[in-house]
């Protein structure tokens, strides 16, 4: 049997297949972004935000107004926490940061402070604390290897309270998930 020579039509068909695939992948990318960035409005105690849609959201308790967790992330589930801490009028952001650091040191396993500094985030002055800790299931029979978790707290001073926004993610997902967290951070109004 004689084979057909590679014709111009074959070449065009080949290019069309590649183009169709690229168009499908670009469409998929836009759709992925729309799903990942979709949000639900959140409004508690005068603080509003756009929380990620489809994440597991806990009821407010104590000074914690929002705790939302991405159950589909690998390793430690990426978590955003929004807190409103009452403070005295003359308290500075660095003092709140010291209190938070002490609290993390007591609550979180192998806690290490990486950096703390004053920053401007989307036009608002904030105090940033970066840290790392180990998340380990307290059940001794649990076979999962503990996860290294990286965290960032942003402290915003607001007259008689401090608004603290925390981002916790598995060390492997931290940089990838940070962009989505910034959308959340940008949406916070108080």
């Amino acid at each position: 049997m004689e084979n057909k020579k590679i014709s111009l039509g074959d070449r065009y068909a080949e290019i069309t297949v590649a183009l169709i695939t690229i168009i499908a992948l670009i469409g998929g990318w836009f759709y992925k972004s729309s799903v990942e960035n979709s949000s639900v409005p959140f409004n508690v105690e005068g603080i509003t935000a756009q929380a990620p849609k489809g994440w597991l959201q806990s009821e407010p308790s104590g000074d914690e107004l929002l705790r939302t967790t991405d159950r589909s992330s690998s390793g430690y589930n990426t978590t955003y926490i929004l807190r409103k801490i009452p403070i005295a009028a003359d308290t500075s952001a660095s003092q709140v940061a010291s209190l938070l650091t002490l609290g993390h040191g007591q609550d979180l396993l192998a806690f290490r402070l990486l950096e703390q500094r004053e920053v401007t985030v989307y036009g608002k002055t904030a105090y940033e604390i970066s840290y790392v800790y180990v998340e380990s299931n307290p059940n001794l029979t649990h076979k999962n290897i503990p996860s290294v978790v990286r965290g960032i707290d942003y402290i915003y001073m607001n007259s008689d309270n401090a608004v603290v926004v925390s981002f916790w993610a598995d060390d492997r997902n931290f940089d990838i998930d940070l962009g989505r967290f910034h959308l959340f951070l940008q949406s916070i109004k108080y």
Binding site: E2, E14, T16, L19, L25, W29, K32, E36, S72
Partner: protein, 285 residues
């Protein structure tokens, strides 16, 4: 343009496809029964090795049938194995990293039914089907050994099984081994699905080479295979899911296997019917 035609049907190709489906279901049954009866105890490394071995079985079954039956009109075995390896290589080097690391599909594809279907078609379907197409199109396709329309199905199936083997090995390695019973069912489902949808691409490839098809012919083939791929994954999830509670989703893999076997039979049957119809039309000309 020189036009040539595939002249006969090569019945053993279809027999191999159907035997692969039946053998995989039997294989799953045997492993599942043995696992239940013997209750083997594995160390981490032996569990991993057993999983990797089981991941190779679907492709091995198909290749054994192929070697046994491809006597009258033999395809060069090296080429078949080469396309299988190329399918596996494309999966490991491009497909898995693109789907898992770039698109991070597992993070968003289960957000809603629309996300499962659209993500399954646009990202998973198109990536997998294009790479399997590429494994044939840029290797054997222009060779003189690709001398019949049915060769498209043979080589695309080889590429599909190569792709499935990598997916299964990746599943085993990322989980540090698998539960033999449910793990082997998943492997059979992946192999059946990849081989079936490759059959569609292979049919379109075969006709594209030997007939003067329109420019949209091959893109249509890839798109159809991608759509079937995406819909299959969504429907398999539906039939396998037995109950949903706040804390977890209960999954029974057996309906998924039955569904995969039915889809594989139906797809192979349809491709066989299309090839026969095409041959009879050519004979009538």
């Amino acid at each position: 343009m020189t036009e040539s035609k595939a002249v006969h049907e090569r019945k053993h190709v279809w027999r191999n496809e159907f035997l692969l489906i039946i053998s995989l279901v039997v294989f799953v049954g045997v492993v599942y029964a043995l696992d239940g009866a013997i209750k083997p105890v594995f160390t981490t490394s032996t569990l991993l090795l057993t999983g990797v071995f089981l991941a190779l079985v679907p492709a091995a079954i198909w290749l054994v049938f192929f070697y046994m039956q491809d006597r009258l009109e033999p395809e060069p075995k090296g080429y078949v194995v080469g396309v299988f390896a190329l399918g596996a290589l494309f999966a490991a080097a491009v497909g898995v990293p693109l789907i898992e690391n770039v698109f991070r599909v597992s993070h968003w594809i289960y957000a809603s039914t629309t996300a499962t279907i659209l993500g399954g078609i646009l990202v998973v379907g198109f990536t997998q089907e294009f790479l399997k197409y590429a494994a044939v199109r840029y290797s054997i396709y222009h060779s003189d050994e690709f001398d019949e329309a049915t060769d498209g199905v043979i080589y695309a199936t080889a590429a599909g099984l190569g792709y499935a083997t990598v997916l299964n090995i990746q599943f085993v390695v990322s989980n540090g081994g698998v539960d033999l019973g449910t793990g082997v069912i998943r492997m059979a489902i992946v192999a059946l699905a990849q081989a079936s949808f490759s059959g569609i691409t292979g049919y379109f490839l075969g006709r594209a080479k030997f007939e003067s098809e329109q420019i949209w012919w091959m893109p249509l083939g890839i798109t159809l295979a991608a759509i079937f791929n995406g819909l299959f994954n969504w429907l398999r999830g539906l039939v396998s899911q037995t109950s949903v509670s706040l804390s977890n989703v209960a999954v029974n893999p057996w309906p998924g296997l039955a569904f995969a076997a039915i889809v594989a039979f139906a797809t192979t049957g349809i491709v066989l019917w299309l090839v026969r119809r095409n041959l009879s039309m050519q004979a009538g000309k």
